[in-house]
């Protein structure tokens, strides 16, 4: 497929991406400083500057399919040091959100983690780590992974076994529902 055909296919996604990120990706001059300082750089399938390049070329689908956007630790070193003032971390974040919505999740575990996390907050208002570990393992199908992570914490009396539950769960639930609705709305129109 020619480049222009591919860009044409991505037109709608690109518009959505530009609107939601609010980042002027054309400012990027591909110096590579974002990739150079990225603490996860070694593990990414494509370096940060190439994610930027895909965004710049309007090839949003390819960018959404990458593992890199999920490995990004949101440390914002890239944004901080960018000589052109491009919010690179925001590009990564927007691509993550869009990838989830459009069904391109290259790193299922990362995504599941976020889902379980949000699920717990949605029911209790606060985090409940044992729930996180079990829930995550349950949903990934790896039931006993990282119990090495949970059990030592229990031994050190660091995990509360009885969860806190907010007395105002209705308020928090409604808050989450409204925020999600607003996010959906922004995705759809404007």
């Amino acid at each position: 497929m020619t480049l222009n055909e591919k860009q044409k296919q991505n037109e709608e996604l690109n518009r959505e991406f530009l609107r939601r990120s609010g980042v002027n990706v054309s400012k990027c001059y591909q110096c590579g400083k974002c990739s150079a300082g990225c603490p996860v750089g070694d593990h990414m399938d494509i370096p940060t500057n190439k994610v930027m390049r895909l965004a710049q070329m309007g090839l949003i689908e390819d960018a959404m399919k990458s593992h890199a956007i999920w490995l990004c630790a949101s440390c914002t070193t890239c944004t901080t040091r960018c000589p052109k003032g491009v919010d690179v971390a925001k590009v990564m974040e927007t691509l993550r959100i869009m990838a989830k919505e459009h069904g391109y999740v290259a790193e299922k575990n990362v995504d599941k983690f976020h889902s379980v996390w949000m699920g717990i907050i949605g029911t209790m208002g606060r985090m409940y780590e044992p729930g996180l570990i079990v829930g995550r393992n349950f949903s990934t199908g790896k039931l006993f992974q990282d119990t090495s992570f949970g059990i030592p914490y229990i031994a050190k009396q660091k995990l509360k076994l009885v969860p806190y539950k907010s007395g105002n769960m209705n308020e928090i639930k409604s808050l989450i529902a409204k925020a999600e609705a607003m996010d959906r709305e922004e995705r759809g129109n404007k």
Binding site: K33, S35, A36, G37, C38, G41, P47, R81
Partner: protein
Amino acid sequence: MERVGVFICHCGSNIGAVVDCAKVAENVRNYPGVAYSTDYKYMCSEPGQEMIQNAIKEHNLNRVVVASCSPRMHEKTFRACVEKVGLNPYMFEMANIREHCSWVHAGKNEEATEKATDLVKMAVSKVCKNEELQKGHAPVTKRALVVGGGIAGIQCALDIANNGYQVDILERTPSIGGKMSQIDKTFPTIDCSACILTPKMVEASSHPNINLITYSELEHVDGYVGNFEVTIRKKARSVDIKKCTGCGTCMTKCPGKADDEFNMNLRKRTAIYTPFPQAIPNKPVIDRVNCLKFKSRENGKDVCGICSKFCPTGAIDYEQVDELVTEKYGAIVMATGYEQFDHSIYGEYGYGKYPDVISGLHFERLVNASGPTQGHIVRPSDHKEPKTVVMVKCVGSRDPEHGKSYCSRTCCMYTAKQATMIRDHCPDTKVYVFYMDVRTPGKLYDEFYNRTREEYGVEYVRGRVSKIYQDGEQLMVKGEDTLLGKQVEIAADMVILANAMIPQTDSEKMAQIVGIGYDKDGWFTESHPKLGPVETHTAGVFLAGACQGPKDIPDSVAQAGAAAVKVCALLSKDQLETEPTVSKVDTKICSGCGLCVPVCPYKAITLETIQERRAGKTIERLVANVNSSLCQGCGACTVTCRSGAANLKHFTNAQILAEVDALCQTIL
């Protein structure tokens, strides 16, 4: 009685196809003031111009309006045309019915014709209020001042002097030579900087037409093109330059120590010093901040005085004071050069705290045979020869977020030069260069860059460096090879940063003193980026070298020559013609409030005392006075003036209001 001739041009079909030119001529035939009105195919052509001239004679016209193209195109042509038959050229106006009408309203013939009529009526109304104006004349002082004694200033002064004009070089440091004297070798030929600069310095100092004013600052500029009056502060050298023979005994005996700025603080110098051995004039100055005698005086004591004891000619004069002198010049050349960007703003490069992270200019001193290490490339921290050197380009350049948005133009080449020099001096040392782009558009520049990689084995890595940190004795450099798409980390012994070029820290103040423009970064602005690269918007002030923007030596020298030609062209005239479209104050109405004085960007307005007879008594009062040679005719003062005393000739309140009224009449 106004007798205006109106000439509507068809410009072939350019105007004629949209605007009904005959109808426009007809529409204004009976307009007040119009004595004659016609249209023609090409008004600017030979027959067209003849037609105007004949009409002036036949119909006894005393004012002319031509409706055709933009005045930016042909105002000069038609002014000359009417002048030939005895009309004052300022009794002419143009109506732009091409660029502003036919070309932008294609197909809307009726409206365009109506608009053309309006524009012509406006022009007629204005020309009726026009007055005859005469160009002014001003004398020329046949001497030039070059501010800055670097390579650009020296070259410019030599070129002016060789054309037979007197020229002064004003330099703020104790010696001429500038940045080029700090540089070891020059690209792309790797000839020794001092070897080609020193002869020029000597030539300048011994030239009968050149006068050096070193260790001096520009204090104040008055006057105007051909007639500048410049006040110069001659800083106290504490050394009588006439008695001093430059033997140097004082410098060997001086116990005071100070950071040696010429050597980028890589070593100490004495308090009485010349910046470098080949300095011109080769006569020292006392740095009073670091001199033991002057320091002790601050504490009420008076010690040391060793230099004075050893001076064989008694040249030391501790009591010297700054001296202000005022000189007259016909032209000024700004050649104040550049400074090096301070990389200590970059936290990721260590905020300037790592001793072995140095700048390009540091390196020049390190590799210079007369420098602090006698030309041995060693790192500042422990004086060991570095086995791995990383060079980082675009430090401060092309970095709108933290540094400067522009490209400094010289760094690609000086980095390549320095890389080859490291490889020459220390063949076992590995050199890596981090770059974003390699920009080498000079003669033999790209060839040089390619030799750097191919023959000298310098490794170029495409990517910016994100972080440098001290790791034991070494520096870890974290970058990205964007061509590989991989992070690279290099353990280096020394890092050389290619710092950006920035204007002198006080360039904006300098520009304000001289009355020229500067851009957002502080570089002086040329009058036109393409067609006026060495002129400024202030007549008689020219630019040479890097004060106008980053430049390498060949470009600086070329621009210096260009500026010299402009200076000579100016100085060759006995009198200067000045535009008459300047501001004028009606002293009868002027209240002397002085509001117009500070708004004038050319300092053309001064308050003067006049004497007046009033009710039988002579009284004195203040009024504004416009120096018509300085005034450039912007009109800022006319609007500021509350009493309406200030008026801009050829754009008077009455003239502009006549145009406004003419347009609005078409509405009523």
